[in-house]
């Protein structure tokens, strides 16, 4: 069958392949090349070697600042989102009344786009800070926690669904056995449930990790980096560098390459962890 199928390679591969080439492969390779050049409109590239990479760190502190901000934000978001989502999933798998309704409500914010979310929370947070006579731009910490709350609001429902799926697939007899052995609910949770839903934990951690790390729309709409770019995350900093000033496009592209390498590193680390665990089991 493989032979006859190969005759149809063009039909099966061409549409996706050509688009993949246009939308991803060529831009990717071209982007790598551009990160070593100075350019404004692509037609006037000039090779500058590693200059752009150097400038990403030395022109100003924006990139490093964005890196730390993003890292801190990611850690806090991953922890809070997963803890809260898991707790909600536990509560929603006990068969109480209204489970479906609650699940519907908690999941809904996930479907709303980042730009819209950002403005909704800008109104919310500025309203709350009104009493203190300040607004979200007053202190980068406000922007930070604003983003964390927003992220939780958006992601909890999604992660909760995955945890619910994990919890529902748990074999009932193991839990019953634990109960008969006289395990307290807490022990049961910690020693039976949690180890058994580790695959869900891995998935959720990975999803929150990459989503937090690559966050752009929400950041763009909520604070746009104010005050003084102190709340700009990596993706936003790259965007700002790119489209900010004539002559900085190369630096923006270099930052984008570094950003890509970071995301790739996180992904491979995750893959390695999962593999390792699979081997251990």
């Amino acid at each position: 069958m493989q032979k006859s199928l190969q005759k149809y390679a063009a039909v099966f591969l061409f549409p996706t392949g050509i688009c993949f080439l246009i939308a991803f492969l060529v831009p990717f390779v071209f982007g790598l090349y551009l990160s070593f050049t100075q350019f404004t409109t692509v037609s006037n590239t000039r090779w500058v070697g590693l200059d752009n990479y150097l400038r990403a760190f030395t022109d100003n502190g924006d990139f490093l600042n964005a890196l730390w901000f993003t890292a801190a934000f990611t850690v806090v978001s991953v922890l809070t989102v997963n803890l809260l989502a898991f707790s909600l999933a536990l509560l929603l798998t006990r068969g109480i009344r209204g489970t479906n309704l609650f699940r519907t409500v908690f999941f809904m914010p996930n479907l709303i786009g980042g730009i819209v979310l950002g403005y909704i929370w800008q109104l919310m947070i500025n309203g709350l800070l009104l009493g203190a006579g300040v607004d979200i731009t007053y202190d980068p910490r406000y922007g930070f926690w604003g983003l964390v709350v927003l992220m939780n609001w958006q992601m909890i429902g999604y992660m909760m669904i995955i945890y619910i799926a994990g919890l529902q697939s748990l074999p009932g007899d193991v839990l019953e056995a634990a109960q008969i052995d006289g395990a307290s609910p807490w022990q049961k949770l910690w020693h039976v449930t949690v180890p058994m839903i580790m695959p869900s934990v891995t998935i959720c951690t990975f999803l929150t990790l990459t989503n937090s790390f690559k966050l752009f729309d929400q950041n763009f709409a909520l604070t746009a980096g104010a005050p003084m770019k102190k709340t700009a995350m990596l993706a936003l900093d790259i965007y700002n560098t790119f489209y900010g000033r004539i002559g900085d496009e190369g630096v923006g592209q270099a930052k984008a390459v570094l950003f890509f390498l970071l995301v790739a590193a996180i992904a491979f680390f995750q893959l390695w962890l999962t593999r390792k665990r699979e081997v251990e089991q």
């Binding site: 549409p15 404004t40 300040v134 731009t137 005050p227 489209y243 004539i246």
Partner: protein, 443 residues
């Protein structure tokens, strides 16, 4: 299942058609003059102008408007496209340096022939690359009704606006008004100092123009030379004087200014919640369109922005332009010609001129306009009055020489931090001086 194959076939067709289709729709696009507009506040008007132009001449005009503070950025990405703007604008000599490859020589255009003051144009080596199309002025706009109320109060520091001719007088009056704001039924003397990013140009650009101009004047800097690449910000104290006065006597608290926008300030002014606001004649539309505005046309006046510089008694408004038409030198000669025809039409034909004076409310610097063909809004009339006042020393718009948008954005960010109390004034000054230098370096 046949259906599915059919759908597949349709999609293949559709996708291959996407390329061709783009080419098809490109034709009418290629027909239109592509104008990248700088002024978002008049974006809707340009659409009206485009349809009027099409009606009269059969030539269509496509107007794309960049959002506030993103013109350079938009221009950059649009210029990189195959279907680039034919008509665009620069903000002065510095903008010309950025875009000189794209600026066509306009010396032979009809519009340039009609420019009253040829020295206003952006020129280089005897050729003309940018034609100014609007003269504007800014200062402190005040509500005369509230001021009159104050003048009539017992113990008012002055009895008429003419007596306010220096910063010390202004401060005296403003602080006294703040003390009596209940009697005056206002929430503050000044409207909120809008410092939201992108909404802070009244300070980092317009207000900063005054101390920088004084600095260059004092040092006798040649504005066309390299002398503008570095500044000491020696009149920083004067900037601080007036900026503090704005902050301390305003409707909003200092800490909440980061989400205030220009429109909020103009609304506060229009609703009579404050007596003064720093802005230019273009703001008339904003004031007029605020629902429930209480201000009467005849009560709107301008006051110069005094900052406490010696001999400022004769200072006038800040009058100039940062709007220069340029024609894309890389467009086809035919397109260039059509763009030139359009701008000439806009500033010389009856229809065009009506749009300019009545809708756009531009004070146009061309001799095609007679004295009575000028905008009839109160702020434009005030600007015209100040232009014609012999005793007043109006300040030119030197902010067109400010190094970059990045410089301005940083400056605005620092001002916000200063306003919120998170940055010392010295820090602002330091940052301005060093940013100016580093942002000028690439030039």
């Amino acid at each position: 299942m046949k259906k599915l194959t059919a759908i597949a076939a349709v999609f293949c067709l559709l996708l291959t058609a996407a390329g061709c289709n783009a080419a098809d729709t490109a034709d009418p696009k290629g027909d239109a003059i592509y104008f990248l507009n700088f002024k978002p506040e008049v974006a809707a008007l340009y659409d009206e102008i485009a349809s009027a132009y099409r009606e009269e001449t059969g030539v269509s005009l496509r107007v794309v408007t960049a959002a506030s503070g993103t013109y350079e950025q938009t221009l950059k990405s649009e210029m990189a496209k195959s279907d680039a703007p034919t008509l665009f604008q620069i903000n002065g000599p510095l903008g010309y340096l950025n875009w000189k490859d794209y600026c066509a020589d306009l010396s032979d255009t009809q519009l340039y022939q009609h420019l009253k003051d040829k020295s206003l144009a952006v020129t280089s080596e005897g050729k003309v690359y940018g034609i100014p199309y609007v003269v504007e002025g800014y200062g402190i706009i005040y509500n005369n009704a509230i001021m009159q109320k104050y003048f009539r109060l017992d113990g008012a520091k002055v009895r008429s606006a003419e007596e306010i001719n220096s910063f010390s007088k202004l401060r005296e009056v403003v602080e006294d008004m703040t003390a009596k704001k209940e009697q005056l039924e206002i929430d503050g003397v000044f409207a909120s100092t809008s410092l939201k990013p992108g909404e802070d140009w009244r300070w980092h650009t317009h207000l900063a123009n005054i101390p920088i101009t004084y600095e260059w004047e004092e040092k006798g800097v040649d504005l066309t030379g390299a002398g503008t690449k570095e500044i000491q910000f020696s009149f920083a104290e004067n900037f601080k004087n007036i900026f503090d006065l704005y902050l301390d006597n305003a409707v909003s608290e200092r800490k909440r200014l980061g989400s205030k926008q220009v429109m909020d300030s103009m609304a506060e002014f229009a609703l009579g919640r404050c007596a003064m606001v720093q802005n230019g004649n273009w703001a008339w539309n904003d004031i007029k369109e605020v629902e429930g505005n209480t201000i009467k046309e005849e009560d709107i006046r301008f006051l110069p922005i005094y900052t406490g510089v010696e001999g400022e008694e004769n200072q006038g408004l800040c009058i100039g332009t940062e709007n220069f038409f340029c024609i894309n030198a890389k467009a086809s000669p035919q397109d260039q010609k059509r763009a030139a025809d359009f701008i000439y039409w806009l500033f010389s034909s009856d229809t065009g001129k009506r749009f300019v004076t009545e809708k756009l409310k531009f004070i146009a610097p061309f001799d095609t306009f007679s004295a009575d063909e000028s905008p009839d809004d109160p702020l434009a009339k005030e600007v015209a009055r100040w232009i014609n006042r012999e005793d007043a020393q109006n300040i030119p718009w030197n902010f067109t020489l400010f190094p970059s948008q990045t410089f301005k954005d940083h400056f605005g960010g620092a001002l916000l931090q200063y306003a919120q109390g998170n940055l010392e004034w010295d820090g602002v000054v330091e940052q301005v001086v060093s940013d100016w230098k580093s942002e000028s370096a690439g030039r």
